[in-house]
Amino acid sequence: MSLLEDILISDNPSIWHDFGGTSPGYAGITWQMMIWSIITGLLVFIWMGYNLIMFKHKEGDPEHKDALKAGVFPHERGSPKIEIAWTVAPLILVIWLTYISLAPLDYLWDVPDEDETDLVVDVVASQWTWTFTLPDDYVIPEDFTNCGKFNETGVRQQNERTTYDCIEIPHGGIIRFNIYAEDVLHAFYIVEIGVKQDAVPGIETLAWIDTSDVKPGLYSIYCTEYCGDEHSMMLADVYITED
């Protein structure tokens, strides 16, 4: 049953719920898209089914006056009124869908300046590692140990300023990621938060999240731009921890 459930329901919190980070209002668009998709799909499928039932060819049907003949361009069929109707209706629908896509963008693209943020993390993507560096003036809380090294007794020590494939950030603040690529294209994707930003060599790109909208816990970072052999192993953890 779980397979069927998986196929019917896809649970990625970043898409289905009004979720934090850069995706408030995803849920709004997702539901609208979902509803309009179902309406459009059903319209096509039901109309086709109706046609197949009502207008199926039966043996002995009389030859229609519009029937096709080889070498003869048939009568033009059509009705301008209906055709205009199904031009204008989709036009209004897609303009509406474009319009509702704008609200989250206002938020998404309004990247806070460095002085408006609580923490700026430098993210360097290279084949095939994520390197996170915290600013020099940031005091790493003592209980932030999820990315720390092990000591001899196997206990994690406090995080260092630079961590690999792992980053721990405080809950309840605006975090900005300055993203660089060292070699080829990569993409920074926090799966459950719905943040995705390409890392481009030679260009600094930005992403940000407001961690007060997100539950504390462990989230995954994937590389989503093809970058070579170990592309699918270029993963990282992001811990959002309460101070």
Partner: protein, 759 residues
């Protein structure tokens, strides 16, 4: 006179090319990355903290026993020599890293030079151990001694100076056999999985050839030469033809042949993804990357486009009532560039790995040294050949449609398939040359060391002064790439319009609006390409505009779908195989179109970009749209091409299997994508294993179901019923000639009558 001026012209060209080449900016090398070493970076990149590339002058050695016995403890010695000022002692001389595939590595007791980090199973030096170039440690052999153990060792030769400059490193692997291990025959080494498959298929093909020829020699009592002569007699017209009907069939057959090859690659991808595999469990990651690159490239350029060109080749002259295309020899040349270009692309498999840059060939990975070489160069070269082939074909179709229409075939009386090709031709002529230019620049970057796309200048790490632009490739590629997907979908619209109208026994509803809808899609297709780049950080205004234009594509596409449905309403629907395929296509294409709108919305695209949601979307459009429509097209026009009807029962079974298992394979990909699985991943989160297994099984059945189609074509060609000139009661001019058409297509040039004249 003419010859002389040509000579001067060509010398001028040569000189300007030479000047251009010498004026290219060249690179001095790749920027040095400096990061602290960690386990995963060492394993992925070696000691690139000290130097990006290994140096062969550093010799890494590991003293090993001859073989090992289970459970025994051995003391091993690791040694490096060579590298900077080869000193036997001093401070800060080197470091090491070693890992064993089996057994347990441990430092010697009370040894302060070697450490085993907690939670890891490799050994490395301690800070104190930095001053040496030789380290000792123990290795406990595994419980079974019938395996071969591999030690991966990295040695770093350090010059003792501050900083990392002048340090060199190298790596080596060592094998140690258990006493009961059976040595693997040498021949099995070095053959990659795809190579094994290719060799396997070659052996099967050669054996089949021998069997067929031998069978003929025995049963007909012919000599080898006579048998070959017979075959040659049969082959010769196909190899030398300039007849549009022969070339059309060649295109279609070649297209389907590449389709099956790429289909096998697709199934290899699905087998790799059957469960989350590690590097080398089935394919190595590099082989996997080559596999999806070849799958995508082959399907788009060598399967979809040739099948379309084949139908266009065959049908355009018949539909507009002329004897052949305008330039028959050019037509033959465009055809022959296709199999040759395809072979060039596949050459990579025989030179150590086919191109592994994805069908999009994104830079700077494609210009980077880590992309397969020369596999990727073959990929670029072959693509240029295929581009030339498409451009020449486009010119041929354009001229033919503009100049050679029969009396009565005015523009607004052309069949919709011809119209769709007419629109496609403009897309080809405006898009392909851009791609060709981009490919040539890419080739220059790869081979001459130019810096069009490479990323950043030499020594420039964080890119404050970028010398070249990796995003430029994406602009050039998608300026071509997006019209390209309309190049493969518009002709499918044409086929659907023909089939649905014929089998509803009524003229198409809204012929004029269909034509305008196609033209509008053609125009819009050039201003939407930015939707592939929503996450690159491009200008927000640019992204907003392409979001709007992308959404607008839904309007003309919707018109087409509604017109098809309205054509059926009030008609008299005959549900034969071509119509069933066409209706199936309308369903799957509608789903693909809807997910297209979802992806056009920037916020949702940011979540879905480069995940399996996108994979699901474009397979719904390309397989559920293009392929299904053209399979319907084969069932529809096969009687015209061969004079034989295709078997209905086999056709319906083929449809049922294809439709059900296509949806079973590709629908769940939406969900996998929403769960966050990125595309082009060779392995994945184990939580998604069940879904991926379901997809793989469905994909295998979908793949094997296509064999029913092959059998149906063969069976119907041999034993099918006679078709007659117009078996489906179609109206366009191809149904006014015999099946198959005579040598010159029409015994006399026909005139297309209007319905009023015919009454």
């Amino acid at each position: 006179m003419k010859g002389a001026s040509l000579k001067i012209l060509s010398v001028g060209f040569l000189i300007s090319i030479l000047v251009a080449i010498s004026a290219f900016p060249t690179s001095n090398g790749f920027p040095t990355g400096i990061t602290d070493p960690t386990t995963s970076t060492v394993e992925a990149n070696g000691c690139n903290c000290h130097n990006p590339d290994p140096t062969t002058s550093v010799i890494v050695e590991l003293t090993l026993p001859e073989n090992f016995t289970a459970g025994e403890i051995y003391t091993l010695t690791f040694n490096i020599s060579g590298g900077p000022n080869d000193a036997p002692s001093g401070e800060n001389l080197g470091g090491f890293f070693i890992k064993a595939s089996h057994g347990v590595l441990e430092p010697l007791e009370n040894d302060t030079l070697v450490q085993k980090p907690f939670g890891e199973n490799h050994l490395t030096h301690t800070t104190e151990g930095n001053d040496y170039r030789e380290w000792n440690f123990t290795w406990t052999a595994p419980e079974s001694d019938d395996v071969i153990v591999t030690f991966s060792a990295y040695g770093n030769s350090v010059n003792g100076a501050d900083g990392n400059q002048g340090d060199y490193w190298n790596s080596a692997t060592f094998s140690l056999m258990g006493v009961n291990a059976v040595a693997v025959a040498d021949g099995e080494h070095g053959l990659s999985t795809p190579q094994k498959l290719i060799y396997g298929f070659t052996i099967i093909a050669v054996t089949l050839g021998v069997v067929i020829i031998g069978n003929r020699m025995v049963t007909k009592e012919q000599s080898f030469e006579e048998v070959l002569k017979d075959y040659w007699k049969y082959l010769y017209p196909w190899l030398t033809t300039t007849d549009h009907k022969y070339i059309g069939i060649l295109y279609i057959v070649t297209g389907f042949a590449w389709f099956f090859i790429a289909g096998i690659l697709g199934m290899i991808i699905r087998w790799q993804l059957f469960e989350p595999r590690l590097d080398g469990d089935f394919l190595t990651y590099q082989e996997y990357n080559s596999t999806f690159t070849m799958h995508g490239t082959t399907m788009i350029f060598m399967a979809a486009m040739p099948i379309i060109f084949g139908f266009a080749n065959y049908l355009i002259p018949l539909q507009i009532g002329c004897r052949d295309l305008a330039f028959p020899r050019l037509n033959a040349m465009s055809y022959w560039l296709l199999p040759t270009g395809g072979i060039v692309i596949y050459m990579g498999y025989f030179t150590g790995g086919a191109g592994d840059v994805g069908w999009t060939g994104y830079v700077p990975y494609a210009t980077d040294a880590s992309a397969t070489k020369p596999g990727t160069d073959f990929w670029v070269a072959g693509q240029i050949m295929l581009g030339a082939s498409s451009t020449l074909t486009a010119i041929n179709f354009l001229t033919t449609i503009l100049r050679m229409r029969a009396p009565g075939v005015s523009f607004m009386r052309m069949p919709l398939f011809t119209w769709s090709i007419f629109v496609t031709v403009f897309l080809l002529l405006l898009a392909i040359p851009v791609f060709a230019v981009a490919l040539i620049l890419l080739m220059a970057d790869r081979t001459f060391g130019t810096l069009y796309f490479s990323g950043s200048c030499a020594g420039d790490l964080m890119g404050t002064t970028a010398c070249s632009d990796p995003i430029l490739w994406q602009h050039l590629f998608w300026y071509f790439g997006h019209p390209e997907v309309y190049i493969v979908i518009l002709p499918a619209f044409g086929v659907l319009s023909e089939i649905i109208s014929t089998f509803s026994r009524r003229p198409i509803f809204g012929y004029t609006s269909m034509v305008y809808a196609m033209t509008t899609i053609g125009v819009i297709s050039f201003v939407v390409y930015g939707h592939h780049m929503f996450t690159t950080g491009a200008d927000p205004l640019f992204r907003f505009i392409v979001m709007l234009t992308t959404m607008l594509v839904a309007v003309p596409t919707g018109i087409k779908i509604f017109n098809w449905l309205a054509t059926m309403t009030g008609g008299s629907i005959v549900t034969k195989t071509p119509m069933i395929f066409a209706l199936g296509t309308v369903i799957t294409f509608t789903i693909g179109g809807i997910t297209g709108i979802i992806l056009a919305s920037i916020p949702l695209d940011i979540a879905f970009h480069d995940t399996y949601f996108v994979v699901a979307h474009f397979h719904y459009v390309l397989v559920g749209g293009t392929l299904f429509a053209f399979l319907g097209g084969v069932y529809y026009w096969f009687p015209k091409m061969t004079g034989k009807m295709m078997n209905e029962t086999l056709g319906l079974i083929h449809f049922a299997f294809s439709f059900i298992f296509f949806n079973a394979a590709f629908y769940p990909m939406h969900n996998v994508g929403i769960s966050g699985m990125p595309r082009r991943y060779a392995t994945y989160d184990p939580a998604l294993t069940e879904m991926n297994q379901f997809i793989s099984v469905a994909a295998f059945i979908f793949g094997f179901a296509q064999l029913i189609f092959v059998y149906n074509v063969y069976y119907s060609y041999k034993y099918g019923e006679e078709a007659g000139d117009d078996p489906w009661d179609g109206w366009s001019l191809e149904w006014a000639t015999s099946s198959p058409p005579p040598h010159n297509s029409f015994t006399e040039i026909p005139t297309l009558k209007s319905a009023e004249e015919a009454e």
